[in-house]
Amino acid sequence: MNSVIELPTRREEAWRYSRVERLQGENLDDWRIIDIAEGESFRDTLLIADGPDTRPTELHRWRVTVGEGARCELFAVLSSAEYARLEIEVTLKQGAHFELGGITVGGRETVREFVTRVVHAEPEATSNQTVRSVHWGHGTGNFLGNIDVVRHAQKTDAAQDFKGLLLEKGASVNAVPQLEIFADDVKCAHGASVGQLDETARFYMGARGLSPDLARRLLVQAFLGDALVAWDDEGARQAMMQVALDKVDKAL
């Protein structure tokens, strides 16, 4: 028997830029639960790439609890599916650390997005989120990042950094940083910017012999590199980067 699900609406901030019509038939209550015990380190990756197993809608919802002094690192590349979304809810205990490196790339009418809610629930926890989006055609990249610092979570150090690179007119990115801070001795930094390829750099590279395609590839690689810089496994990092770069090369 089919159960009737109620789709979210774009009035809800977390779904504002999404393709909610693509959620039909998806289980919105399906959360992956990740509990990281005190002092442990955890790392995981999500790669949405072109392939036979990739569905038109890729909805991933992860609920993470990072125990006292524990560390959680998540790295994700969203480069396929008509609509790809990684939604992460993180609760940080005392002295815990959360690291997110995210990349979205896409063209046509695709939407690829990260939606995060990081709750600094106890003192001295740190978090760092870096998302880079490269889009063309009528592709859209979104980063809705919520940071909540509760009243007693003093010495919180949270950072959120988003940059979008639009390769063609018609593409768009949306950045929505939301910081709710109820403690008074905290550091919370956020930045968001959108731009296009640096034509001066492209000419400079051309003047040294790089073709326009190769120059673009190097510039895009440099741009995306920031998102994965915290990942110390170079081989795995380069493999993920390759997927993103190949996607751009194939499309343009």
Binding site: D198, E199, T200, A201, F203, Y204, M205, G206, A207, R208, G209, L210, S211, P212, L214, A215, L218, L219, Q221, A222, F223, G225, D226
Partner: protein, 248 residues
């Protein structure tokens, strides 16, 4: 080697070059001097093929090829090097990666085998040594965090690695202290002084020309060459100024 004939160029509809003609044969270092706004940098950019610089009339022939018909990277592969007055910073791309890709792109376009990582590294270190640039700086991102002088040295290291046939150097001496000026000047001599190479050296000052001795000096004013002479012309400009020399 380079033959510019009646070149007219404009930016955003504003005429900058107005019938510039100049021939630089192989083996020659030709200095271009001229007051601010004369069109010196425009000439450099037009030769390099910078977008936005529109050639409305005239021709540029480089080793028998119509240079204006080529894209910037094709001009580089044909052997043209443009030394920038303000070298561009490229965050996230290391000098080594950039230059290896650049050199191997040029080699590929010329039908040559690419250099291996080891071969390239040795070449890069040799050229950095020639310009007295710390080879460690080659690991850093292109021109990011470099001082003005370091950028200019790095430009010449790039020139050494790419080994062009013809270099257009746009105020390579600006931003250099006295010692660095000598190092850069001697680097230009070492890399470019050869019977089959030539240099167009754009400068404001005589100082660089004491190290890189030009065979000819031309004055560029209001978008055209108004006077050409030997090295003594630069000395006269230094002592008398543009107005006096051009009025004579």
């Amino acid at each position: 080697m380079l033959k510019i004939d009646n070149l007219h160029a404009e930016i955003d509809g504003k005429k900058i070059l107005n019938g510039l003609s100049l021939t630089v044969p192989a083996g020659e270092v030709h200095a271009i001097m001229g007051p601010n706004g004369a069109g010196k940098s425009t000439l450099a950019y037009v030769l390099g093929g910078r977008p936005g610089y529109e050639v409305t009339q005239g021709s540029v022939e480089f080793n028998g090829v119509d240079l204006l018909d080529l894209e910037p990277h094709e001009r580089a592969a044909a052997g043209l090097f443009l030394g920038f007055q303000y070298p561009v910073e490229i965050p996230g791309v290391s000098n080594l990666q950039f230059l290896r890709e650049a050199l191997n792109s040029q080699r590929k376009a010329r039908g040559q085998e690419p250099l291996t990582g080891g071969e390239f590294l040795k070449l890069a270190k040799d050229k950095a040594g020639l310009l007295k640039l710390d080879p460690e700086m080659l690991k850093r991102h292109v021109n990011v965090g470099f001082s003005g002088g370091e950028k200019k040295r790095a430009e010449m290291v790039q020139m050494g690695i790419l080994d062009p046939k013809f270099a257009v150097l746009d105020e390579t001496d600006s931003g250099l202290d006295i010692d660095a000026l000598r190092v850069v000047g001697e680097g230009i001599n070492a890399i470019m002084r050869a019977p089959d190479k030539a240099v167009l050296l754009i400068t404001h000052y005589q100082r660089l020309l004491e190290v890189v001795k030009p065979d000819k000096v031309s004055i560029l004013s209001q978008g055209r060459i108004v006077q050409t002479g030997g090295p003594e012309l630069a000395l006269r400009l230094e002592s008398e100024g543009y107005d006096a020399v051009m009025a004579a």
